[in-house]
């Protein structure tokens, strides 16, 4: 009886939701043309480059092929923009600790691991994927492309100069490849607004989009604090900045979201379950970026979602051990021990605990932890060097 009541209630809520959409014609999505083909010479050229970039990313060793991550992400996109729109999309998850997701005009979408580490629920994830999809639907890739053709000449030159000066051009090259598909500020705003319409249709909370920008600003501040810099918050976008600043974005997205139906479940648990197998790997990569403040912020953010799990505590231990001030080493040992108490089972915990203790001068305790590691993993590839550390 209770179950059928709940069913009835949810059916009513669903009706109410769709009724709200039907009433407000401004929230209706524009008609969508599937299987669009490039029409003129510029567009065909752009698509050719996009196809080539997609092939490279598809075969890249950085692509996260294991498990169901890409399938899950595509599912979120479909829920956000609807089955009709998402049908032709290819989605690639890439191992890259930077906060980014992008979509090319040929319908290939890239989602970076650093972005997945930062979203706190499925609603935020969907908001960003929807925003990128909006660029695609509005065909922003082509508009203004002619004016930016010179961008590719710049890339050729950077490659040549990089060869001479031996500076790594890799990331510049990627970011300039990105610049072919880079959008101007008006386009960003248009995509944000269409993105909000997707949210209104999808049932995710209306404020998902503004929340993510607020969180990004807080992280930038934490990074600046960790590096003893003044927090850099642009209150107005610079002339050459292509994106609206996080602040102005958070403000207008919040204002627009107030006009929408509030939306429903942000599906926090679903995101957490889908990312759980990848979390230790993503955290390890983030830990090695030498960004104490930002990483600590991300960890606290994740802990706010799931509580301090053994994986998060272990990652926090790693973070403090890497900074290695005496107080950090002290705390690192504490976090490792808490992680163990919370159920962290892999033997590398004892290894890293032992190393933190020895570096902090607690030699006896350190030896005990290291010998526990060697007991658990006698065949480890670093067993011999750990033996010498215990002997000294």
């Amino acid at each position: 009886m209770r179950r059928s009541l709940a069913l009835l209630a949810s059916a009513l809520i669903a009706c109410a939701g769709s009724a709200a959409h039907a009433v407000d014609p401004t929230l209706a999505l524009p008609t969508y043309t599937a299987a669009y083909e490039p029409t003129n010479v510029d567009e065909r050229g752009l698509w050719m480059q996009a196809d080539e970039a997609e092939r490279r990313m598809r075969d890249s060793p950085l692509r996260i092929r294991d498990g169901n991550l890409e399938k899950y992400l595509l599912g979120v996109l479909c829920r956000e923009v609807g089955q009709e729109r998402c049908a032709g999309v290819r989605l690639y998850a890439m191992e890259d600790p930077q906060f980014n997701a992008s979509m090319m005009p040929n319908g290939a979408m890239f989602v970076q691991s650093g972005f997945l580490l930062r979203v706190r629920n499925e609603g935020e994830l969907a908001a960003v994927l929807g925003h990128e999809f909006a660029h695609f639907e509005l065909r922003h890739g082509l508009n203004g492309f002619k004016n930016r053709r010179t961008g590719t000449d710049v890339m050729a030159w950077v490659t040549v100069l990089g060869g001479i000066s031996n500076t790594p051009t890799g990331s510049t090259q990627l970011s300039l490849v990105g610049s072919i598909f880079r959008f101007n500020r008006d386009q960003e705003t248009a995509a944000d607004l269409l993105g909000l319409k997707y949210i209104a249709q999808s049932g995710y909370p209306a404020h998902s989009a503004s929340e993510i920008w607020k969180s990004l600003m807080a992280e930038q501040e934490a990074t600046a604090r960790g590096r003893k810099l003044k927090a850099k918050q642009h209150f107005t976008a610079g002339f050459f900045d292509t994106h609206p600043t996080p602040l102005s974005r958070a403000v207008y997205l919040a204002q627009e979201a107030d006009k929408l139906p509030a939306g429903g479940d942000p599906r926090k648990q679903e995101l957490q379950d889908a990312l759980a197998p990848y979390l230790p790997r993503f955290l390890a990569a983030q830990n090695k970026l030498n960004d104490f403040g930002g990483t600590d912020y991300i960890l606290s953010n994740l802990a706010a979602r799931s509580g301090w799990t053994s994986d998060l505590l272990f990652a926090r231990g790693e973070l403090y051990r890497a900074r290695a001030n005496p107080r950090d080493l002290q705390l690192a040992s504490q976090f490792y021990r808490e992680a163990k108490a919370a159920g962290y089972a892999a033997p590398d915990l004892d290894r890293n605990l032992g190393l933190a203790l020895i570096r902090n001068g607690q030699v006896e305790e350190g030896r005990a932890a290291l010998s526990a590691y060697l007991m658990a993993a006698p065949e480890a590839s670093d067993a011999a060097i750990i033996h010498t550390l215990m002997a000294n």
């Binding site: 490279r56 890249s60 060793p61 950085l62 191992e95 890259d96 600790p97 001479i164 000066s165 031996n166 500076t167 790594p168 890799g170 990331s171 090259q173 990627l174 590096r227 810099l229 990569a285 090695k288 970026l289 030498n290 890497a322 290695a324 190393l355 020895i358 570096r359 590839s381 670093d382 011999a384 060097i385 750990i386 033996h387 010498t388 550390l389």
Partner: protein, 194 residues
């Protein structure tokens, strides 16, 4: 017009030669590598690149540094990064600490690469005790992929001597090149004196 062009080219060549001057390293003893106490006696010929990436860093190669590359880090002092920082403010590199354990050396190299070269995949494979120039240290192997998508392998010998880091690393593509020259590197590394 042609003359002007030629003289411009000649001028450019004259300017760029000292900057781009790589030099031949002949077989036999050689001291002061990486402006430090490192000396070695290579068995064969190597090329020393003029551009190294840091003050106490020297790069040798056989066929070009993307095919086989030996990097000497000569006595990096506490508080200093392994490589010259491109952007001190926004992407600072991790620094050497005088109380580092030998197992912190591979981690330092990895975090440096991830920050400096945007290497998103890198792993330390093996770590074992070893000597570098008669000092107790570590020998470790690793693999990584830079943005050119080429999988590379590395092998390095490192030691902390009087609170300073000495490290010599060999890197080459996993396919063909790593195995081709690894023995030459090992011979070179065992000839090192500090």
């Amino acid at each position: 017009m042609l003359r002007v062009t030629i003289s411009i080219i000649a001028l450019l060549a004259a300017c760029s030669t000292p900057v781009l001057a790589n030099s031949l390293i002949g077989p036999g003893p050689r001291a002061g590598i990486a402006k430090s106490r490192i000396s070695a006696s290579p068995a064969g010929e190597w090329n020393k690149l003029s551009l190294s990436g840091g003050k106490n860093v020297e790069v040798w190669t056989l066929d070009g540094d993307s095919l086989n590359k030996v990097t000497f880090f000569g006595g990096i002092a506490a508080g200093q990064p392994l490589l010259r920082e491109r952007d001190k403010k926004n992407s600072p590199l991790p620094k050497v600490a005088s109380n580092m354990l030998v197992t912190d050396i591979p981690t330092l190299l990895e975090t440096t690469y991830r920050s400096q070269y945007a290497v998103n995949q890198m792993a330390i494979d093996t770590q074992a005790p070893a000597q570098l120039g008669g000092h107790a240290g570590i020998r470790f192997t690793y693999n990584f992929t830079k943005s050119d998508d080429v999988r590379r392998k590395g092998e390095a010998f490192g030691a902390m001597v009087n609170g300073q880091l000495y490290l010599v690393a060999y890197e080459a593509p996993q396919i063909y090149f790593f195995d081709k020259d690894i023995e030459k590197f090992r011979t070179l590394a065992t000839s090192i004196k500090l």
